[in-house]
């Protein structure tokens, strides 16, 4: 920025213009088209830059407009309602009711609201992202420290960095396939039953293995069957997926920590870990940004999570129960609900997802770009 502020380009163009005035008439007419092109390019570039702004505004406008029936009907209560009954709404009678709402009929609006609530998917997104961060943050930071402080000594920093970047480029579909065919069977046949054996009878852990189901007005406690396609599997796959990005950004942040900061602490007798702590503390804003970036990625991830989370709109505390995230709900139901309140409610969910991910990204960028690179 400082460089461009002192950029003498403006001055030089002005002197160029002066030079053109001194040249013969013929040259001057040729110059006119050149100048025209110059101005045109400037405006075309400006226009392209403004497209970026439109690209941010457009999704917001479209989603708010299309989700408006649901926003009007449910308001903020949408966020704390745990019922999601889409099937009943697909009946023709209910479809007609949905149209009346758009025209402003109020009595129908009070009948429908109980049908759609985003709480299960908000819960699913929050918990699966939390599991993902729990896995990815410690491992990601450890790997970043390794790449910055240990790998150069072993001369493997370059290949490691390439590997991390390549892994960040692997499509989420690939992680989904691995989760579906390797991790899910492993969880359902080995890890799940083993954990049930060890912790099943320990008091305080029974919430992991039992689920309360209400059948005909009476609550029944049932053991959860290990299907493998559950919250835990979803969280783990997400964690593995965001590992490369957290590692890569943390690595860049730690690399930017001034050498003097570390050498100083080592000179004062700090151990390797103490100086590493110093390094982490110095880059904490950027590291926070890296974690937020990972969180944004985890919360918005669609394909892999849809394949492994089990796709069930419920709030069950056990990590072995199937769940649903906002993104997986959209992937599963959006194509089937093209009319009525169902699609409006889905677009409301999409709007929440968009606003949430924008917030995460804004915070992340603010910290990564604004604070770390100094």
């Amino acid at each position: 920025m400082a460089e461009s502020a002192t950029n003498p380009a403006g001055v030089l163009t002005a002197s160029g213009g002066g030079f053109a005035q001194a040249s013969p008439r013929k040259r001057r007419t040729a110059k006119a088209s050149v100048v025209l092109f110059d101005t045109a390019l400037k405006w075309v570039c400006r226009g392209a830059a403004c497209t970026i702004l439109i690209m941010l505004a457009l999704p917001l406008i479209v989603l708010i407009r299309q989700a408006w029936p649901a926003i009007q009907a449910y308001g903020a209560g949408f966020l704390v309602t745990s019922t999601w009954r889409a099937n009943e709404l697909e009946q023709p009678a209910r479809d007609a009711a949905g149209k009346i709402i758009i025209e402003g009929g109020e009595t129908v609006m009070t009948v429908l609201p109980a049908q759609f609530g985003a709480l299960p998917v908000l819960y699913g997104t929050a918990v699966s992202s939390a599991i993902a961060l729990l896995v990815a943050v410690p491992f990601g930071l450890a790997a970043a420290l390794f790449i910055v402080r240990i790998a150069p000594k072993l001369k493997i920093a370059g290949p490691l960095s390439f590997l991390i970047e390549f892994l960040a480029a692997i499509p989420s579909l690939a992680y989904g396939i691995w989760g579906l065919f390797v991790l899910a069977p492993l969880l359902s046949t080995t890890i799940g039953p083993a954990m049930a054996k060890v912790l099943g009878n320990v008091p305080g852990f029974d919430w992991m293995f039992y689920q309360t189901i209400i059948i005909g007005g009476t609550a029944t406690r049932r053991p959860i069957s290990f299907t493998g396609r559950d919250m835990l599997c979803g969280g783990l796959v997400l964690g593995i997926m965001i590992l490369p990005i957290i590692t890569a950004v943390s690595r860049d942040v730690l690399k930017n920590v001034p050498r003097a900061q570390i050498e100083g602490s080592v000179a004062l007798g700090a151990t390797w870990w103490q100086s590493s702590i110093e390094m982490l503390r110095f880059g904490r804003a950027g590291l926070f940004g890296a974690v937020m970036l990972g969180l944004a990625r985890a919360a918005g991830e669609t394909m892999a999570i849809t394949m492994v989370i089990g796709n069930n709109n419920q709030i069950v505390p056990s990590p072995f129960a199937p769940a649903q995230t906002m993104a997986s709900l959209l992937a599963n139901e959006f194509a089937e609900a093209t009319t009525g309140m169902h699609s409006a409610a889905l677009l409301y969910v999409a709007l929440i997802l968009l606003v949430m991910s924008l917030l995460f990204n804004i915070v992340a960028r603010y910290f990564v770009v604004g604070k770390a690179v100094k």
Binding site: G16, W178, W272, M303, L354
Partner: protein, 288 residues
């Protein structure tokens, strides 16, 4: 005395954490070798020549090949690039070359582009559905390409900006000093000097978009036909892999695994190429 004990404790902690960091990195490495190794092994076991030459039959016992999907993805990527690359590049030029013109707009655009790269891709698909599929009256390759272009633009913009900034300021000053206009300077001096690295940025966006599935779900929809008409539902490699992998048929799953291998191999080559080109073009300016 207590100070010494503390010292010893600190040293032990340090060794433990040192080993911990190394161990964590090794665990990650093994995990990732496991994942890619698994994908490559099941992929190679299912890959054959039919995969590249046959079209989907619709018969779960003999699913044919993925020629249609590969061709579909290539056409989708080409169409997306036709819109995404020029728009992204022009934005990148604006950010890098016209920075002094309007400081605030510049900052806002750069920040917005950064935020856009983190947009969940399913949202892009849904917006594409509402804006293109609904008005056009059906799923289409155009809608799919538009969704992919949407994802490409911010990436191309930011990477090409970074690459253009690598060109030394003296190049521009020299050109302007000789009486060239800004446009002439950009097209004859700055862009040619940064050509290699700008291509890197485009390939980076390409690599990101090639593996995307979510934006295509509600736009291109996918197709089992060897379709080249973008006004109709359009085949795509990732969509086909997704529908085969989540389906119940063994033969179709194998097809999905082979498809994944082809995709990963392509992305690996692309990444190697990016690294090679980027390395070369960055060094070019560092030496001078």
């Amino acid at each position: 005395m207590p100070a010494r004990r503390e010292n010893k404790l600190a040293r032990i902690t340090s060794s433990v954490m040192y080993i911990g960091c190394t161990a964590a990195s090794i665990v990650i490495l093994l995990l990732l070798i496991w994942i890619t190794g698994y994908l490559v092994s099941i992929g190679t076991a299912s890959l054959n020549l039919d995969f590249f030459t046959q079209v989907a039959t619709g018969d779960p016992e003999a699913p044919g090949g993925m020629k249609h999907a590969i061709r579909g993805t290539i056409i989708l990527l080409a169409m997306a690039s036709m819109v995404g690359v020029p728009l992204g590049l022009l934005t990148g030029i604006y950010l890098s070359e016209y920075a002094a013109d309007a400081g605030l707009l510049n900052t806002i655009v750069r920040f917005t582009a950064d935020v856009l790269t983190g947009l969940p891709s399913i949202i892009v698909g849904i917006v594409g559905y509402e804006l293109i599929v609904v008005p056009m009256g059906g799923y289409s390759g155009y809608a799919g390409a538009a969704a992919l272009a949407f994802i490409m633009i911010p990436i191309v913009a930011r990477t090409s900006e970074e690459m253009l900034r690598l060109v030394p300021q003296s190049y521009r000053e020299g050109s302007l000093g000789l009486g060239a206009t800004k446009a002439q300077t950009i097209f004859r001096v700055v862009l040619p000097a940064a050509a290699g690295s700008v291509v890197t940025g485009i390939m980076l966006a390409f690599a990101r978009v090639a593996g995307e599935t979510a934006p295509l779900l509600f736009t291109a929809l996918g197709s089992r036909l060897l379709s080249t008409d973008p006004a109709k539902p359009f085949p795509s490699l990732t969509l086909q892999i997704y529908s085969y992998a989540t389906g119940p048929y063994v033969k179709e799953r194998q097809m999905a695994w082979a498809g994944m291998l082809v995709l990963i191999a392509m992305l690996f080559l692309l990444n190697m190429l990016i690294r090679y080109v980027a390395h070369r073009s960055v060094r070019k300016f560092q030496v001078s």
